[in-house]
């Protein structure tokens, strides 16, 4: 199982290395504007084919690149209802604080749980390999975080139930 994760993350890392070749590109549609082309979606020649990397039906990663920006959308593993709620709440918490992350997108792309938007300005300010490390580390940590949250919810539930039922003994 661990081997499976390694393969998935390595595949994503290599795709990002190839896809994150961004450059400053002024908008072709509107004068004096400079906007991420992957979000604008007006000139088809400036956007590359999107790549979808699936680990299984539940976990996948969509990478859409353009000449000056890249959008990475992830769907995290949600095995049962509890994980579903935890994932949704946790990722919503992160997305609302997208400004401090800089590369996070405020709303995930339709059909996914969380999205990143990296532009050429991020690549100019920060090292490309560090950005890719961050994204891959994030994906690893999300799974760990949600498992930990689920564990703590179950533990707390057990403790509360034990305390409550003690009065009936």
């Amino acid at each position: 199982m661990a081997n499976n994760v390694r393969l998935y993350l390595t595949c994503i890392r290599n795709t990002l290395e190839a896809a994150m070749c961004l450059q400053n590109f002024p908008c072709q549609e509107v004068e004096r504007h400079n906007k991420p082309e992957v979000e604008l979606n007006t000139s088809p020649e400036l956007i590359m084919n999107p790549v979808l990397i699936c680990r299984n039906e539940a976990e996948k990663c969509l990478i859409e690149t353009s000449i000056n920006s890249i959008r990475i959308s992830m769907k995290v593993k949600q095995a049962d209802e509890l994980e579903n709620i935890l994932a949704k709440k946790f990722l919503r918490f992160l997305s609302m604080r997208a400004e401090s992350f800089q590369v996070l997108r405020r709303k995930p792309v339709q059909g996914y749980d969380i999205s990143f938007l990296i532009t050429n300005y991020h690549c100019e300010e920060m090292h490309k390999h560090k950005l890719i490390d961050f994204i891959v580390q994030f994906m690893e940590d999300i799974d760990k975080e949600i498992s930990e949250l689920k564990l703590s919810v179950n533990t707390r539930g057990r403790l509360v139930a034990t305390e409550f039922l003690k009065q009936f003994i």
Partner: protein, 370 residues
Amino acid sequence: MAAVAVHQFAECITCHAWSPDQSMVAFCPNNSEVHIYKLFGEKWEKMHVLSKHDQIVCGIDWSLKSNKIVTVSHDRNSYVWSQDGTEWVPTLVILRLNRAALCVQWSPKENKFAVGSGAKSICICYYEQENNWWVSKLIRKRHESSVTTVAWHPDNILLATTSTDGKCRVFSTFIKGVDSKESESSSSDLKFGEQIAQLDLSVTWAFGVRWSPSGTILAYAGHNSMIHFIDDVKSNPSAQSIPLRDLPLRDILFLSDRVAVGVGFDCNPMIFTADDTGLWSFTKYLDQRKAAPSSSRGSQLSEAFGKLYGTSKQVPSNDTVEPSKPRGGAHENCITCIVPLSKRGNTTLCRFSTSGLDGKVVIWELDIPK
């Protein structure tokens, strides 16, 4: 045979150009200004700041004979700066563009310059003596997307362009009164804006077009990590496409008719040489690196590239995880610009300089056997 000098000028450099005597360098530190630095012994001192543009200056060229600087910017304007004593005086050039300008180059005779723009057109500007200003003529047809790079042929008339529609085109820019007619060429080819050739070798965006010093070979890079060499474009074109191992190139420079340097997202200049039969191949990376990337990483990268560009490359996958290593080497971020430096004395050493998004200007030296 490596980096001779490394200078950190700013956080990030968009483009740079050298003065005719190579004592001064002009560059744009990723904002709307152009900084000119002069070398005093070992130290670089900021001499001038040219600030007339409103948006980022994306192209600078310094003419060697007439000592004029031309700058173009994303704000659709272009200025020609001439030195008046100790100050640089700008002259506005009316480009008549309605989108950003992306690249600029002086012609070999320095009586014209070409500007590529996001308006899917090229401007050829020449000086009109009677009115004392620079006039522009536009080539509006043919391009389906932004023009990323322009390159003049040594004959001062042919212009090669690359565009984000993936095509490389060669145009004639003959202007009556500025250019003199050569008796050998046919008159039909010499009409202004006439497209001589269109090359469809690249499936994706094309950058960095350059002519060889004799004007017989044309080279440009495709974003799918390929470099294309075309021999004899006008009459009987024959092309060679070389796939690169890693990331794509942004700019190319010919050091001679047989040696070319490519720079790009690998942060390391690549040398390409042609053998006696004219067959081009990749020779080596110029910079010595500490950690050599393993071959498995290269094959997985090419597979990833294949997916992004809709082509399929069957490569066996590998189990090991490759943590990203900091590369080490002269440049830490993408190299965007490469400029030739003239040779000193009668040596076989060729010098050129590169600038990148890490804010460094690096001077390289390479031995080219005759």
